[in-house]
């Protein structure tokens, strides 16, 4: 055997090409396992083989987190404009609206978890990468103010890899300050704020309300951080260590309380509420 002879293991494995009929099966992004869609849904869109957490939209997220049929969405009368006349912004909004069925990247409302009333906000990575536009900042702030008014705990589930939305320029950046100011008020009122981080939460959202939770949870394997890995790589011209900016990386560095698998999120939230809320 020559020194440079290849072993064909890897190639063989990736050659295992299976014809996947559309809409019936999903190939796991991480391990390549072919998963029957029905099975994937039952498993809360987590790969049964390797535990990879697939993206789930905001509505589905609320459904699996809150008590059955308890969610009541706050009416929102606002919708995104193009305040800077930014090129192609309207097209991108329209595309995201079609793809997600949402009008913007955030949904807010109230519901119950384990019977306890809670105000909840979700940002959806599928809508322009969950980036914080005026409407997103406004809704998150409304949710915080509602929690103060009703004296409910607040849960925000972030999936905002896009940070502050570029297309709204500085108006977006200032949403970081606006949401933070609201959270600061909430904390002064001694109300509980739980932050759940999902893939991906970066930049302007990670550097504002997502990092301000009294307790911070994260799904496994999410990309979480401030600067995107591509920009860091370009700047320092070094390879990034494996697992850099993953939930596990943040946990190791003391930035989050718990990494919680998707099917454990509800029981964990119930447990936290039970342990921390008075009168139970």
């Amino acid at each position: 055997m020559g020194w440079f002879e290849r072993t064909y293991n890897r190639i063989k494995r990736s050659k295992k090409k299976v014809d996947i009929p559309d809409g019936l099966w999903t190939k796991c992004i991480k391990c390549g396992e072919i998963i029957y869609n029905k099975k994937l849904e039952e498993n809360l869109r987590v790969c049964p083989q390797c535990g990879y957490h697939f993206y789930i939209g905001a509505r589905k997220r609320l459904e699996i987190t809150l008590d059955k049929d308890s969610f009541r969405e706050y009416d929102s009368v606002i919708t995104s404009d193009n305040p800077l006349n930014f090129p192609h912004y309207e097209e991108k909004l329209e595309k995201s609206r079609k793809e997600t069925g949402l009008d913007e990247a955030a949904i807010i409302g109230e519901g119950r978890i384990g019977g306890k009333s809670i105000v909840v906000g979700v940002t959806d990575y599928g809508f322009m990468r969950g980036s914080m536009a005026s409407v997103v900042g406004e809704r998150i702030t409304e949710a915080v103010e509602k929690a103060i008014e009703k004296r409910y705990p607040l849960l925000i589930i972030s999936g905002s890899g896009g940070g502050a939305r570029m297309q709204e320029g500085m108006i977006s950046l200032m949403q970081m300050a606006k949401t933070s100011a609201a959270i600061a008020r909430l904390k002064r009122e001694r109300l509980l704020y739980l932050s759940l981080l999902t893939h991906a939460t970066m930049a302007g959202v990670m550097a504002s309300f997502a990092s301000q939770g009294d307790i911070i949870l994260a799904e496994p394997g999410a990309l979480l951080g401030f600067t995107g890995p591509r920009v860091i790589k370009q700047t320092i011209r070094q390879q990034l260590p494996p697992g850099f900016q993953s939930s596990e990386f943040l946990f190791k560095h003391g930035m989050i309380d718990l990494i919680v698998k998707r099917d454990e999120i509800r029981p964990t939230l119930i447990k936290i509420l039970n342990l921390i809320l008075p009168g139970f």
Partner: protein, 322 residues
Amino acid sequence: MVERSRYYLDFEKPIIELEQKITELEGLAKKEKLDFKEEIKILQSRLKNLKESIFANLTPWQRVQLARHPERPKPLQLASFIFEDFLLLHGDRLYGDDQAIIGGLAKIENEGIVFIGHQKGKSIKENLSRNFGMAHPEGYRKASRLMSLAEKFKKPVVTFIDTPGAYPGIQAEERGQAEAIAANLEKMARLETPILVIVTGEGGSGGALGIGVGDRILMLENAIYSVISPEGCAAILWKNQEKVEEAAEALRLTSQDLMKLGLIEEIIPEPLGGAHKDIEQTAINIKQAIIRNLSELKDLTLPELLEKRYEKYRRIGKFKRK
């Protein structure tokens, strides 16, 4: 007659050429003992008009270049003109002392304040130690510590913003860059003392905002403040670095645009040609703005101050009603 070769920007080329012509003519007049007084006078008035017309019609990209000008006065240099006395304090008490953010105690018109600023370097060597004004988490945590000091001793806080952004690096992420900035936003929203923010150069996104929440946001005339750098925006939007000028335009990052959008309270004028052409005058303009704004903020009671600060941010956002 060797003048220090000055760094100049492309759009300043006609100015530089005319200045050279005048210098040549003056040299010739001296050497040949000829009288060119009239001609020189004409050229000088032409020079003044030229400067005024160029600087009155700067494009956003030209302002970006001015805001990043290597000779643009940095916060420490401005501090020495603005404050009667100041003392730098160091360290975040947690990890280290980030040279990219400076801060300490100062006196202005005999009033004590705490000042904090991003600090870019003047030379390559200084820039390396200061990371080109890009702070690590310890920089934001040093700022936080100084703000607590200000709150405790009832001193107003004045911050100077001049950064390309928070440092993008492995260690910065390990030590919680996002957390450090988020914590400051929360803290500044409720800090029980007036906060005055002045963007003196480059306001680079979240890294700028990390010391940039306050009661009033002021900008030097040619300073910029943006959610993303024009280069970053061009790369994302057009996948093309040549499009930086369009990106600078689209982002609405000039002081004039931000004033129109209602995101800042005041523009501080710069000397003709930019802040670096007359650093002392720039500092005087900043000083006057600080004194006036602080004295206005001092008239508010603490609950009024905090309520107004909250309302100021609460109002920000542009959307349609359904």
